[in-house]
Symmetry: C2
Subunit: 204 residues, 2 copies
């Protein structure tokens, strides 16, 4: 944007710069967004400014599960009807949301808000390890389900967390690997297929 800024310096240049801080937004997208907000939808610009200020003021981490909440404890942690013996560990609030939408889990969650990335030198300082260990020590948790992604980073995270938790005598499981529902076998990648074969189950 340095070049474009010369014609922009008394216009929305600062807004364009600020929009570029959003993940996945480059110079052109930021320019298009700024134009849209100023020319087509100033109400949306106002709503966004207010939502940002409001979120910065009011949204913080749940003291139990580390997801985002406006309260001391999030709605799920406040829900007494859920099973306190099961703790599902996810990388992000988005992952928590998708797990909830399966409708198949009635326990509690813990949100790491990150993952290990050994290749990038990101170690356990990038995830909420100590709060997780404190959470697991509540006396009620019997099984920790590691639901980090099945990427290199997610697998590394699950590996490290599994070792730390097992060393403390906590039962640890991992989501099953296998063939996605609806897949034609021909198009499933070989690594997934090998895992599905290794983890084959008796016919129900």
């Amino acid at each position: 944007m340095a070049a474009a800024a010369s014609a922009d310096d008394d216009g929305p240049g600062a807004l364009i710069e600020a929009l570029r801080a959003l993940p996945g937004v480059g110079a052109r997208s930021a320019q298009r967004m700024a134009w849209h907000l100023l020319q087509r939808d100033r109400a949306a610009a106002l709503r966004l400014a207010q939502a940002l200020s409001d979120a910065l003021d009011s949204v913080h981490h749940c003291q139990r599960c580390n997801t985002f909440t406006r309260h001391t404890l999030c709605a799920l942690c406040r829900d007494d009807s859920r099973n306190p013996a099961l703790l599902c560990v996810v990388e992000s609030p988005a992952d928590l949301s998708v797990m909830e939408r399966t409708g198949g889990f009635q326990g509690h969650y813990f949100v790491l808000q990150g993952r290990l990335s050994p290749l990038d030198g990101l170690g356990v300082e990038g995830i909420a390890l100590d709060p997780l260990l404190a959470r697991c020590a509540d006396g009620a948790v019997r099984e920790v389900i590691l639901a980090t992604s099945f990427t290199a980073e997610g697998e590394a995270t699950a590996q490290v967390l599994g070792q730390v938790l097992q060393a403390r005598g906590i039962g640890v499981t991992r989501l099953a690997r296998g063939v996605p529902v609806g897949s034609e076998l021909e198009y499933v990648d070989l690594s997934t297929l090998a895992h599905a074969l290794g983890d084959r189950r008796p016919l129900a």
Copy 2:
């Protein structure tokens, strides 16, 4: 997001909704952006909130050329060294910016802040036609260069503007169509090639 909001309603749900108003941003992108702003870069969130408020308060249209500015007239309109006889009409501030970066134009600009889209039912009410006609009537403008895009919408816009301006006795030109610099002929689309042939010029 309706489904996701159930787990999010005491978190950054309002921020995610507000981010979705940005062009090109869907539910997943908005969720990722909100996470990034709240978890990784709160300073960027604050800067964005402030830049939005500031732009809404301070950035408006230049009274002469209709681009965005913080002043009554933008920097280019205030520049006396530019040629007042040439007026280049562009769709957006981004197009103005790219024209300026060519370094090949020393006249003034007019920014339509839109374009005609007959197929979508968007007529001249979507562009700053009256301000353009007023601008052209300043007694100094001798030639209006139509630099709208070479898309169906940009061509329609140029067509309509050309007719209106010529009916008022104003000289109107259009950017040249032709083979882009650096192109291998084999990969140039046929319509462009046909125009380049029709508009061929004597060898310099």
